[in-house]
Amino acid sequence: MSLVTLDFAEELKEYCGDNAFECFNCGTCAAICPLVHDNFPRRMIRYIQVGARQKILENSDELWRCLHCGLCTQTCPREADPGEIILGLKRFVVANWRKS
């Protein structure tokens, strides 16, 4: 269970654009991703949409499996640029790592 952080999108603007809200959860990015399974990067993008800040920090090790091949960005039908979102999330996690 996780408490939603309502102004998370605002907080994230420092680290990446707000493209995550373009995503309509089709799952193409997760299907094309050659390295990581278990709904990556789709789940991370959904976490941004609903404001599940804590979930992103808890599962941040997933972010570092990404090799930035760019396939998700190339295939995203909504031009949400998942690759760039993952980079942004890395910056956010680094800045907030073990802060609490």
Binding site: S2, L3, V4, L6, R43, R46, Y47, V50, A52
Partner: protein, 603 residues
């Protein structure tokens, strides 16, 4: 009546029997030519013919020619179910200049070739045709019942459907009376703000309708009125009306009635999603009212003076309820239907809020988004653009509303979000809005007065959803709008237009022709026992009247043809066999049974 007095009515021996192949539908299983050969030899049959499609022009022409040349004077067609083509062949007989009621139908498709095969099929087809022929021999020409009809329509309910029906009927020159139980016209439109998906103001639409009504001198409006009773029949209904304010009673004589009694909004039970327990839980109707009255524009929406930083909208409250999951009402009923209008209304409200108060965040929690109509899907796209967050719950895990542990928020909504891989989320909120569905207004009193059917969903029930969508089985009574099913204002107006056309078409000639299959009394035989009156199912259709014959007063039964249902309950109880149903006489039945049990035909 004199015709009825003779059981010895001569039977005709000039029956024409026409057997259809139905392009193989019948002939693949029934040996149609063998049936024809047997039928030809039956007593009373003058001609027996076959055709690939009897309903086609050549098939109908064959019947017309035989009638015109005088070879036959009764017609039996053996084909599909009478519901499909009985009228086709009656019309063909009319075109030949004969009486359309000299016709009998044998169903050898649904009742034979689709369910039997081989010899069994051929034999059963022969038997059914033999019995139809036996009946046909005793058929008499009948005339449709002509009922004078008052060129006046009464519309019950002054919402948008009632108003639109009134306008469209008035346009054809027919008098209209509109009865509304509340003090004002407009119904639910009075509670709405901007209508989805076009965004027009409900008040503007209503005003345009009301301005039009004033132009029609043939529309009479009664507000604050209750209907106490409805009597009569098509063309001649009488409504007993009483005013709520001073209890004044008056009557309305009318030719047709349109039910436009509308709907109400579902009221959540105490504690449903925290309703009634937390003041921050409101229904969509309240939110629309708040948006309508709100003149301020700030970055954050304010409700009761409190800023709303975040709110949750919960869909499907009181709609799409599932037995075993949702709590039934006191009468044990669940609203299992989709209320159809709430999805678009919720998205519409969300867009208004996000566009005018960007500081107010919105989470929409839905089971399915059903933006089914033209322009409605655009509302959903717009809401996504406006960064409304959508979360999806399943019916077996409904969102729960509890006090929030955070000091800044009064409540939180727990949801198992299937869009986030079924993870549980707690959303802190200042406001929860419930999309309460549509329920029909309770018109059970009116419905039982007029014997109108009510569906299992408690809405009024039409004859057929596609073929006769605005008609009741009671001739002369129609329905329009949300008394029938959940509809938006546009759909209610569509239905209203259809009901108006049906009512106008019915009344425009000033008289109505009804099927003559009703009870008829043989005055000579009737002894005035009154058993038939007691057995009669339809109030007013049968009565005992006193009549003077050769200076003596006798009691005799009298049929009001327009009310008679033709059920035959009277014929079954009369000890004198003095009452019978035209077109379905006892003697005709007896001959049919004789034909079925006699082996001779089916060999």
């Amino acid at each position: 009546m004199s015709e009825m007095s003779s059981d010895k009515t001569t039977k005709t021996d000039r029956v024409g029997v026409y057997i259809c192949y139905c392009g193989g539908n019948i002939s693949d299983h029934v040996d149609v030519e063998a049936v024809r050969n047997r039928v030809e030899k039956m007593p009373g049959v003058a001609v027996a013919r076959t055709e690939m499609f009897m309903c086609s022009d050549p098939g109908q022409e064959m019947i017309i020619e035989d009638l015109k040349s005088g070879k036959i004077d009764r017609v039996v067609v053996a084909s599909c179910a009478p519901s499909l083509h009985e009228t086709t062949f009656r019309d063909a007989i009319k075109r030949a200049g004969s009486n359309p009621f000299i016709y009998e139908h044998a169903n050898i498709r649904e009742q034979v070739s689709w369910v039997h095969h081989g010899d069994t099929a051929t034999n059963k087809a022969t038997v059914l045709i033999a019995s139809a022929t036996a009946k046909a021999k005793r058929l008499k020409p009948l005339d449709p019942i002509r009922v004078e009809a008052k060129k006046h329509t009464t519309i019950i309910g002054g919402g948008v459907a009632g108003i639109k029906t009134a306008l469209d009927i008035a346009q054809t020159g027919i008098e209209v009376t509109l009865i509304e139980k509340s003090g004002i016209l407009g119904g639910q439109l009075n509670h709405l703000d901007r209508l989805a998906p076009s965004g027009e103001k409900a008040s503007d639409i209503l005003q345009e309708f009301l301005d039009q009504i004033v132009n029609y001198k043939n529309i009479t409006i009664h507000t604050n009125c209750i209907i106490e009773n409805v009597t009569g029949y098509v063309g001649n209904f009488r409504l007993d009306v009483v005013t709520k304010s001073d209890n004044k009673k008056f009557n309305i004589d009318t030719g047709a009635i349109v039910m436009a009694t509308g709907s109400v909004s579902y009221t959540p039970y105490d504690g449903e999603y925290g309703f009634g327990r937390h003041e921050q839980v409101i229904v969509l109707k309240d939110l629309i009212h708040i948006l309508k009255e709100n003149k301020s524009s700030g970055s954050v929406l304010e409700v009761n003076g409190k800023p709303i930083k975040n709110m949750v909208m919960i869909h499907c409250v009181g709609s799409r309820q599932i037995p075993g999951i949702h709590k039934p009402k006191e009468n044990g009923k669940l609203n299992e239907y989709c209320s159809r209008t709430c999805c678009a209304a919720m998205l519409n409200a969300s867009n208004q809020i996000r566009e005018n108060f960007p500081g107010t965040g919105i989470y929409e929690m839905y089971r399915d988004i059903r933006t089914y109509g033209r322009g409605q899907e655009a509302l959903y796209t717009q809401a996504s653009k406006n960064k409304v967050v959508f979360m999806r719950y399943e019916a077996d895990a409904l969102p729960e509303i509890t006090p929030s542990p955070l000091p800044d928020y009064p409540l939180q909504v727990k949801i198992k979000d299937s869009l986030t891989f079924n993870e549980e989320m707690d959303v802190p909120v200042d406001l929860v809005v419930l999309a309460t569905g549509i329920e029909p207004d309770d018109v059970s009193g009116l419905a039982s007065m007029m014997k109108l059917p009510i569906g299992t969903d408690q809405f009024l029930l039409e004859v057929h959803p596609k073929l006769r969508p605005v008609e009741f089985p009671i001739t002369g009574v129609f329905l329009a709008g949300t008394c029938q099913a959940p509809m938006d204002a546009g759909e209610a107006c569509n239905a209203a237009g259809a009901a108006a056309v049906k009512a106008s078409a019915l009344l425009r000639k000033g008289y109505i022709e009804l099927d003559p299959f009703v009870a008829q009394v043989d005055i000579d035989k009737c002894q005035g026992h009154g058993a038939c009156v007691e057995a009669c199912l339809k109030e007013g259709a049968l009565e005992l009247i006193e009549t003077t014959i050769e200076g003596k007063i006798h009691k005799k039964a009298r049929v009001t043809a327009a009310l008679c249902l033709g059920c035959g309950a009277c014929a079954a109880v009369c000890p004198e066999k003095a009452i019978d149903i035209n077109g379905w006489a006892l003697k005709q039945y007896e001959d049919m049974v004789d034909a079925i049990v006699s082996d001779g035909f089916a060999v």
